[in-house]
Amino acid sequence: MNAGTKEPLLQPTLRFHVPEPKARPGHAPDFSNLVLPVAGAAPRPPVNASAYDTRDLAGDLIRVLNDDGEAVGPWRPDIAVDVLLRGLRHMMLTRVFDERMLLSQRQGKTSFYMQCTGEEAVAVGQASALDSADMLFPTYRQQGLLIARDWSIVDMMCQVFSNSHDRMKGRQLPVMYSSRDANFFSLSGNLGTQFSQAVGWAMASAYKRDRRIAVTWIGDGATAEGDFHYAMTSAAVYQAPVVLNVVNNQWAISSYQGIAGGEEATFATRGVGYGIPALRVDGNDFLAVHAVTRWAAERARANLGPTLIELVTYRAAPHSTSDDPSKYRPADESSCWPLGDPIERLKKHLMHIGAWTEGEHTALREEVAEQVRTAAKEAESYGTLGQGPKHDPATMFEDVFREMPWHLRQQLEELGT
């Protein structure tokens, strides 16, 4: 046997542990592991707090909206109603956009799609607390960032359809957007890489005495990649102006967050381990998300260094159109998620403060649906993966390098023949 000398001892034999979610298909959903403090209970430290000062917050859950839709406690943000209304619209637009693209995928207009259903408050709420000039390094599940920045949804659809107007020239997997104009970094298919790059971008911005901070996202599952560690280490060492977000939506394809180590310590607690102030927030509470993001962005802008935010939410949809979650989690788990639906919760708050009515809500839903319909029509007129115009296949050889070297020119010729 390929092992060293073996001397039996008197201790018990050893075991290792494979974490298992509390419920699998056929069981009743069980979120009893999720401790839910009442809204308003978490203290709000000053923005120059140290990591040490945040160590309890990192294990806690910052909540602002209570069950009545009232905003309570020290984290309750000073926020204008129209910011909230914009947020509501953007979340609803994101959801309808996702629904439409899912349908398009089923219709063969694209090969693949990824929804962010149930997580809209993450991207939209965070965007509402950032400057539009701040640079975003997201994952594939923050399409809401582009929408919250009023980026053209026609443009996004063109990417999803890989059509003649796709600025990524049909090269990228659907949803792997890039928008320099929206300060939205090119998405990568490789998990985690953007997290550490964001720190480099933030350092560059700082080096240039710029004022733009970097903001980045990673999934609970992908925190296990080396890039998470690189980001945390370099952000701490160089005190880079960056906001580091972990979107804990409970699942990484079929693996629940315990497989990423989420049961041994919250993901926010990782931050404290590196000396980075860390907050854990109800990710379906638009106001709480806005508040913690603003806190972190203020820190970064004041040269107080990085912040780690864990956003606790739930991936209500399948991982992607290639996935079938009924194979690994209870079919009704999503509807039992204790933090509810971010759109419903913000709607309730707006109605609670008298700024919104059911009628306005219905009208808005119709309006965004119409917006998406119109956009889809336009985007489809530029082609889809299934049919219609596309870029010239010859463009495949462009942008590998800034200038095409001889061997690619030769291969382009070969393609032609």
Binding site: M1, N2, A3, F16, V18, E20, R24, S111, F112, S162, D166, K169, G170, R171, Q172, L173, P174, M176, S188, G189, N190, L191, G192, G221, A222, A224, E225, G226, A252, I253, S254, S255, I259, A260, G261, S322, D323, K327, Y328, L385, K390, H391, P393, M396, F397, V400, H407, L408, Q411, E414, L415, T417
Partner: protein, 337 residues
């Protein structure tokens, strides 16, 4: 005997080895309860237990580090990397550790791990779900690299890989999981059931590493291929009517040089086909070896038909894929007098 597609044959190989050898463990992202995103490990956790077949954190470097440690203990870990495109974070554990452990310890420790990873395009996976990085591993001394082209070989080779005391990188052409794809994407999908190599014994057997298979005998030219390209090459041969010998390399390293040399010495002409990018692809090594061993027999320059030196572009998958038309042209070129 049962009729199996390639995913089933791989599942059967792992099932067989789990039952046969208590030191075999299987792990990777989503391979446990769920059974893997390509379903290759379906049912194995349920049958063999969660301490033998389990999910890992999303950290390819961590997965292979774990495998090296387990291998050093004496187990036979079989790790899945969800897509070959995601093997790079594990590069250091493969190159500096798995491949070097036996050597650097003077034979005291070794890392008998098997790394399974789906490779290749043809499923509209875009540039990060379509890569064929096999050449990189063939340059790393101490690693073996295997790529099967059909269910029978897949099971037999995977069993050999698991039993092998050296680290083996086992690439599975994902476009072949369900059928023998010959590159004619416009035609209806063929299931494995109609192909003789879908007759797979249910129990233990193996196909040795380091042995190529002459898939089609011929005298006019030699086609060297592996994985999906074996089927593409066969289609091209059929369509051109050129009496070419088609060799399925099966193992890239160690390579079955004898079978190659014998064939090229006979035919005097050689076409090399792979889906990976061309420059410094494994075709370069094959080309170098063929000209080294068969220089005076060669009657035409050796042709390489490969993926272009660009990322795999989603919408232009079929312009990128080195399909039968391109292979046919190369065959015709080498036949020019």
């Amino acid at each position: 005997m049962a009729t199996m597609n390639m995913a089933q044959a791989l599942n059967s190989a792992m099932d067989t080895m789990l039952a046969r050898d208590p030191d075999v463990l299987i792990f990777g992202e989503d391979v446990g309860y769920f059974g893997g995103v390509f379903r290759c490990t379906t049912g194995l956790q349920q049958k063999h237990g969660a301490d033998r077949v389990f999910d890992t954190p999303v950290a390819e470097g961590g997965i292979l580090a774990m495998a090296v440690g387990m291998g050093a203990y004496g187990l036979r870990p079989v790790a899945e990397i969800q897509f070959a495109d995601y093997i790079y974070p594990a590069m250091d554990q493969l190159v500096s550790e798995a491949a070097r452990l036996r050597y650097r310890s003077g034979g005291e420790f070794w890392a008998p791990l098997t790394v399974r990873a789906p490779c290749g395009g043809g499923i509209f996976g875009g540039q990060t779900h379509s890569q064929s990085p096999e050449a990189l591993f063939t340059h790393v001394c101490g690693l073996k690299t295997v790529i099967p082209s059909n269910p029978y070989d897949a099971k037999g080779l995977l069993i050999s890989a698991i039993e092998d005391d050296d680290p083996v990188i086992f690439f599975e052409p994902k476009r072949l999981y369900n059928g023998p794809f010959d590159g004619h994407h416009e035609r209806p999908v063929q299931p494995w059931a109609k192909h003789p190599a879908s007759d797979v014994p249910e129990g233990y057997y193996n196909v040795p590493l380091g042995k190529a298979a002459v898939i089609r005998e011929g005298s006019a030219a030699t086609v060297l291929a592996y994985g999906t390209m074996v089927h593409v090459a066969l289609a091209a041969v059929e369509e051109t009517g050129i009496d070419a010998e088609v060799i399925d390399l099966r193992t890239l390293l160690p390579l079955d040089i004898d079978t190659i040399v014998e064939s090229v010495n006979k035919t005097g002409r050689c076409v090399i086909v792979h889906e990976a990018t061309r420059t410094s692809g494994f075709g370069a090594e094959l080309c170098a070896l063929v000209q080294e061993h068969c220089f005076f027999k060669l009657e035409a320059k050796i042709e390489r038909v490969t993926g272009w030196d660009t990322p795999y572009p989603l919408a232009f998958e079929w312009d990128y894929f080195p399909g039968p038309r391109r292979v046919a042209k190369a065959l015709q070129r080498v036949m020019e007098p």
